[in-house]
């Protein structure tokens, strides 16, 4: 008799020859080799990735940008991805990190929109950015708790219930925080300092006009293209603002403007000829 723990009780091969697994269909030998029984794998790392999302508040709303690149490691594999997703009528969700998880989040958000804005809707009760943000944070935290995270960092932009601009971050750990200037990934190192030159304190966004905000954001996209090897110079930009005349208390009209295929302007690569090797030159 075979005393191997996995074959215990079977006739030993030395005496009886190889075991016939087809006897009485008693075998689980074939199943073991099938793909079904392959162990379930949780996300260990992102595969196709999108780099930074950059955003800031201004006087009448928010502005957000993300490039259209999908990288496969260091290979710039796709150049036509849209990473700024509209949810409801006045909310944008900018997603960096794993692109397949981005597409999963996109489906979830689409479902959310149908459920909340269409089913049993009596009008009013619009889905706004804080609601979308809370929902996403629950989803991302739930997935990290299962040790199978959606490998993304996300910024939700739009308006609060009281009509003030809303901007808040969530990442794969379920961490959330808010600020008047937000960026994910490389952008949190390279772009946020530039944004904070414009908006030093959180409340200062109230003095910023749209064109000022946009100028700084465009500069951020340029710096990121220079310094971030996973960034491209083709990007999308969303502006959401409430159009209200000064001093009027009438209901504000909201506008959502999505610009695509923008190009990083004013590039100058003169500095490049002096660069050799890695890091600064050792004298």
């Amino acid at each position: 008799m075979n005393h191997d723990p996995f074959h215990w009780g079977r006739p030993s091969q030395e005496t009886y020859g190889g075991y016939n697994y087809n006897i009485a269909n008693a075998s689980n030998h074939q199943q073991e080799s099938q793909l079904d029984n392959f162990p379930k794998v949780h996300s260990q790392q992102p595969i196709i990735t999108g780099t930074s999302v950059v955003s800031l508040k201004f006087k009448h709303g928010i502005i957000m940008a993300a490039d259209n690149l999908g990288s496969y490691g260091s290979l710039l594999r796709f150049n036509n991805l849209e990473r700024l997703i509209k949810v409801g009528s006045q909310t944008v969700v900018g997603i960096s990190g794993d692109i397949s998880d981005l597409q999963q989040i996109e489906r979830i958000l689409h479902e959310l929109e149908i459920e909340q804005e269409i089913y049993d809707s009596d009008g009013g009760h619009h889905l706004r950015a804080p609601h979308v943000h809370e929902y996403l944070s629950k989803i991302l935290y739930n997935r990290r708790t299962k040790m199978d995270p959606l490998w993304n960092a996300v910024i939700v932009g739009g308006f609060n219930d009281d009509g003030t601009p809303f901007l808040k971050y969530i990442d794969l750990l379920g961490v959330t925080y808010t600020s008047s200037t937000l960026a994910t990934g490389f952008g949190s190192h390279l772009a946020v300092p530039l944004l904070r030159q414009l908006i030093p304190n959180d409340i200062d966004y109230e003095n910023i006009e749209e064109d000022e905000a946009r100028k700084v954001l465009e500069n951020c996209m340029r710096v990121l293209f220079y310094r971030d090897a996973r960034a491209s110079d083709k990007y999308s930009l969303v502006t959401i603002k409430s159009e209200s005349n000064e001093g009027e208390s009438t209901p504000k009209k909201l506008s959502y403007n999505h610009e695509t295929e923008l190009k990083v302007e004013g590039q100058s690569w003169k500095f490049a000829k002096d660069i050799s090797g890695y890091g600064s030159k050792q004298l």
Binding site: D120, G124, H131, H133, E134, Y135
Partner: protein
């Protein structure tokens, strides 16, 4: 022997296209004591008459808080109302937890409407035997809905359910214009109590023991006034007894003590309906509703 063959379950239509179990459920609401609700531009008021089973017993709770911005008044089977209100509470908490947003009144009523409707077309279940008035204040303003076991839900400016509720509805209809225009919560409550007062039977008065009032609206969370707290509102009424019975009703005050018992007997005799309907030999006396079908089907 006359028997209704079409009320054994809630999924079988009568030949005239009626669902008797559902109609009986609607009758069960009328057995319960009255509840009224009314809205102004910014507030919703619920007022309800509580019953006690016996003199030494407590009064059945009639108004249930769902969330800071929502509550319900019930008429009919209180246990069924508990199930529905607990469900609504869960919905309200989920909305807060998942979306960081208070449950909208319309979504709330439609969610219990779906539950109730399911019972009208699944074998082996019975419709809920309770009617609800749902009061809520949300971003689209103040709302009052009536929920019925049939699964139907309608929004109202003013509504009344339960025993003798027609009188309350009549009052609300007559005063609709002033109710809609009023900016004062106090005025709204007084109108609610007036409507409730009109549903009273003889020899019953509104007292702080048998009256429940609730308010919800702009900048004010859902608040129930019970017992001693409700006295402040009763004090604002010109009378606490039904106008129809007031003439020559000098000894009204003396009846304070027995009012609960009298009220109960009158309501049970008045609406001698579904309870006896289940004892089938008495089925003729059951609601007038099924009479027509019975004739047709039993011959």
């Amino acid at each position: 022997m006359f028997r209704n063959n079409y009320d054994n379950d809630s999924v079988t239509y009568s030949p005239t296209g009626r669902l008797f179990q559902v109609e009986y459920a609607l009758e069960a609401i009328k057995q319960g004591s009255a509840a009224v609700g009314l809205v102004s531009k910014s507030h919703v008021v619920l007022a309800a008459l509580k019953r006690n089973a016996e003199e030494l017993g407590s009064y059945q709770k009639k108004i249930i808080k769902i969330d800071d911005h929502m509550g319900v008044a019930l008429a009919g089977l209180a246990p069924d109302a508990r199930v529905l209100s607990n469900f609504l509470r869960k919905q309200a908490m989920s909305s807060k937890m998942i979306y960081n947003r208070p449950l909208s009144t319309s979504k709330a009523v439609l969610s219990i409407a779906d539950k109730a409707q399911e019972n009208t077309q699944s074998y082996g279940s019975r419709p809920y035997g309770v009617g609800l008035l749902i009061a809520g204040y949300d971003e689209t303003g103040a709302h009052l809905y009536e929920f019925q076991p049939s699964g139907s839900v309608l929004e109202y400016y003013g509504a009344a359910i339960g025993a003798r509720s027609q009188a309350g509805r009549t009052y609300l209809e007559r005063n609709l214009d002033t109710i809609l225009e009023t900016d004062s919560v106090e005025e709204l409550i007084v109108h609610g109590l007036n409507a409730l007062r009109d549903t009273l039977s003889q020899d019953v008065e509104l007292t702080f023991k048998n009256t429940s009032v609730s308010v919800v609206g702009k900048d004010s969370d859902f608040k129930i006034y019970d017992d001693e707290e409700v006295q402040q509102w009763l004090d604002k009424l010109d009378s606490v007894s039904n106008a129809r019975n007031r003439a020559g009703d000098d000894d009204a005050d003396d009846n304070n003590e027995n009012q609960e018992t009298t009220e109960e007997t009158t309501t049970t005799t008045e609406a001698a309906t579904t309870e006896e309907a289940s004892n089938d030999d008495n089925a003729n006396e059951a609601t007038d509703a099924p009479a027509e079908d019975r004739m047709e089907t039993d011959e």
